[in-house]
């Protein structure tokens, strides 16, 4: 395999796993969002993530094999993607989710833009497709950050707590694109009246298969049907 092909495959797997795990996380909101419109929005964003994941993983290998037959150590997603959408496992916090989506979609937008400009034709096609959808995701998260950050005392406090909690995971997420990512995210935080957290702790390891316990729980749910009935089809 050429150096380009090898590098592309590593990148496809990392991006594909980010999108797949994010899709599974976001799907937790289905039927539980604060309003019907938001329920539909979150389901659609999850669907976009799943679509991008399928294209990326199908290019890197066999999509079902990759999604359903790997153990947690085989996954290459960044830690942010697998974190619960609230302060603790099982929590589902809306402000936390929008902060998570802001961080993730800004990084995805940049990574897909780079993929679209790359030398690998198939990967470039996926990047060009996904970049349009990421633009909508980033916009959706931005609109909510402005409302929550500049909303009530409680909404501001909770979204700031989410930002403080998630910020450290942004380092691994933005490796190699940090400056461009900050240029997208910092203005949103400023306009939302939120304090950009200081850069201290930098947890990583996801890209090397060293994950948090949260991924194991997520996979247990996502893969249970396929593991019980290998090759099951609708």
């Amino acid at each position: 395999m050429s150096e380009l092909a090898e590098r592309t495959e590593v990148e496809l797997l990392a991006l594909g796993d980010d999108a797949l795990i994010a899709a599974q996380r976001l799907a937790e909101w289905v039927s539980r969002a604060p309003t019907l419109e938001e329920d539909v929005a979150l389901a659609n964003i999850a669907l976009d993530q799943l679509g991008a994941a399928r294209m990326l993983l199908a290019t890197a290998g066999d999509e079902d094999e990759l999604a359903y037959r790997r153990d947690d150590q085989g996954f290459r997603n960044c830690l942010l993607a697998e974190l619960p959408l609230g302060p603790a496992r099982g929590d589902l916090d809306f402000g936390w989710t929008m902060t998570w989506l802001l961080m993730l979609s800004a990084a995805q937008l940049l990574r897909y833009t780079d993929l679209a400009a790359g030398a690998d034709e198939q990967a470039a096609g996926i990047g060009a497709k996904a970049v349009k959808e990421s633009t909508y995701h980033l916009d959706h998260a931005t609109q909510w950050m402005l409302r929550l950050g500049g909303g009530t005392e409680q909404s501001h406090r909770r979204v700031q707590e989410a930002l403080d909690g998630l910020w450290p995971y942004g380092h691994e997420l933005t490796e190699g694109i940090r400056d461009r990512w900050l240029a997208l995210v910092e203005p949103v935080l400023a306009e939302s009246g939120l304090t950009r957290p200081a850069d201290r702790w930098r947890p990583d390891g996801g890209r090397a298969g060293r994950h948090t316990e949260h991924l194991s729980f997520l996979l247990a749910e996502m893969q249970s049907l396929h593991r019980a009935h290998p090759g099951a089809q609708w």
């Binding site: 539909v40 389901a43 659609n44 976009d48 399928r54 909508y136 959706h140």
Partner: protein, 156 residues
């Protein structure tokens, strides 16, 4: 009519599984149709990458062509160039509007499909309810004049 033109016509005339009023040809989903050595290859492109209708579209194309006597059909998916709303044909937009689904509008604000013609072409004020609607490619709006909700195709 050559067999090739006939195949393109049949594939393009397949109705979209979610928006039954328009064909996949009008939506710009069909990229090509070829006949070589008795084998048909139809090339399609997804509107959104996670569009759940793609499997149904593939099956519908195969069924439509099988009905016309073409049994050996392969449906390929291409991503490049990425689908955009500019690929929807004029008759496609007209069909969507007749159903109450608005075009995204040049400025990003759609016109209410019920009131668009009733006010001498003057657009009525509209309000975006949600950036996402019943399909990934639509957003949800409400008209401040007739107070009815309507869907609009999102600019992509």
């Amino acid at each position: 009519m050559t067999a090739q033109t006939e195949i393109a016509r049949i594939a393009g005339a397949v109705p979209d599984p979610e928006l039954r009023v328009v064909t996949i040809g009008e939506l710009g989903i069909v990229r090509g149709a070829e006949l070589a050595d008795g084998r048909v290859t139809v090339t399609i492109t997804p509107t959104y990458s996670g569009c759940p209708a793609m499997d149904a579209i593939r099956d519908d194309i195969r069924a439509a062509l099988a009905g016309a006597g073409f049994a050996d059909v392969e449906v390929k998916t291409v991503l490049s160039p990425a689908w955009s709303t500019d690929m929807i044909t004029e008759s496609g937009w007209a069909a969507l509007e007749r159903t109450g689904i608005a075009a995204p509008g040049a400025s990003g604000t759609p016109a209410c499909p019920r009131c668009a013609h009733a006010h001498g072409g003057q657009p009525t004020p509209v309000l975006q309810i949600s950036r996402y609607a019943s399909t990934p490619c639509q957003s949800l709006w409400s008209c401040r004049s007739c107070l009815e909700p309507f869907n609009a195709i999102k600019k992509l």
